[in-house]
């Protein structure tokens, strides 16, 4: 099973960025994957099995840290870092804070009965087998030609990106490349930036409404003219911002100090 969807090659070879070298991360990947995966699996099961809620949070910490390790292995440094910052530094601390605020005694236990365990285990194993069988159907999908982690260009900053973009702009102004070629060259530039693991800038540009998605053709108007279109992510970003604002106000409203109501005896 293979994927296709690379943007078409342009003739603007000289506008490409310098060649990239291969780093040892690729060879280490299997070993690191197995180490982290075994740790995550063990900790995820321990999260479920343990009866002490703070211990469950600790096991969850290891699972979340492993997840961010997986993101780093997949070359998604930005997502892995945000995972660490938001989940481990934010959500988990919040969870433990919640435990401390709602604990009646130290180290609270709430036992689950044996029957509940049995039912949950059966359902869980059924669900897992469905997912595993479904996943097995797709067969082996190897890593793509380029590995994002392997192609990191250290001194590749916004300034050098701007430089290449300005040159493209200049070429377009002179008329030596047409609109479509310009569009594809920008797309190619984005791809290369992503391949060099400098995609945080690309994601940021997508969030402020610049087109960064994959290039595809779209027919517009009555004249059936085809134009090249790329997606941007301004709307999701705005929605998430508003959502967070609402959550902030809502959580503050719900959790504000109130006079405790007596439970009717």
């Amino acid at each position: 099973m293979t994927f296709s969807g690379e943007p078409q090659a342009t003739k603007l070879g000289r506008l490409r960025l310098p060649a990239k070298q291969r780093l040892p991360m690729d060879d280490l990947q299997p070993l690191l994957f197995w180490i982290i995966a075994l740790m995550m699996g063990t900790c995820a099961v321990a999260t479920v099995v343990t009866q002490n809620i703070v211990r469950a949070a600790t096991w969850l910490l290891f699972t979340l840290a492993g997840t961010s390790g997986m993101f780093f292995l997949l070359g998604a440094d930005l997502v892995g870092t945000i995972q660490l910052l938001v989940y481990v530094g934010g959500t988990l601390v919040l969870v433990v804070f919640g435990v401390m605020l709602t604990a009646q005694g130290p180290f609270i236990n709430m036992k689950t009965s044996g029957a509940e365990w049995a039912i949950s285990a059966v359902v869980g194993i059924l669900l897992l087998s469905v997912l595993v069988i479904g996943t097995s159907k797709i067969g082996h999908v190897g890593p793509p030609e380029k590995s994002a982690a392997a192609r990191f260009q250290p001194t590749y900053t916004l300034a050098s990106q701007r430089e290449v973009r300005d040159r493209l702009e200049l070429e377009r102004g002179r008329g030596s490349i047409d609109e479509d070629q310009y569009y594809l060259a920008i797309a190619r530039l984005d791809k290369e930036q992503v391949a060099q693991a400098s995609y945080s800038a690309v994601i940021g540009r997508g969030f402020i409404g610049e087109p960064v998605g994959p290039v595809h053709e779209e027919t517009v108007g009555k004249s059936n003219k085809t134009i090249l279109v790329r997606a941007h992510y301004l709307l999701p970003f705005e929605i998430v911002s508003i959502h967070l604002l609402v959550v902030l106000i809502g959580a503050a409203y719900l959790a504000r100090a109130k006079r405790r109501r007596r439970v009717a005896a």
Binding site: G5, F33, I53, L94, V95, A255
Partner: protein, 105 residues
């Protein structure tokens, strides 16, 4: 076992996390334990998204943006859920979800 680590390995891992999270939601009686289960489920989904992004070069950015959205929304969800749990604790003096049965017919 195949030569290299492929997409399916990550998907298996994501499936394991998902199932652990689902079982956690079902078995924990502490409301905060249920929340922990939800976090596990979301993480399983996130591993899938980022793995798809990595193994399909055409959608590298999309997968990561989706994962970022999931992380942000999960943080918001955790905040609201904890606020609800605190409210619940204020009213019932416990966080055992089995005691929330006033609406039972």
């Amino acid at each position: 076992m195949t030569e290299t680590i492929g997409l399916e390995h990550y998907l298996f891992l994501g499936a394991l996390l998902f199932v652990c999270g689902a079982v956690c939601m079902a078995t924990k009686r502490n409301a905060i334990g249920v929340l922990i289960g939800v976090e596990l489920v979301l993480n399983g989904a996130n591993i899938n998204l980022v793995a798809f992004a990595h193994f399909n070069p055409a959608f590298e950015i999309e997968g990561m943006i989706f994962a970022l959205m999931v992380i942000v929304l999960a943080a918001g969800e955790a905040a609201v859920a904890l606020a609800i749990v605190l409210n619940f604790y204020n009213n019932h003096m416990t966080v055992d979800v089995d005691t929330a049965e006033e609406l039972k017919g």
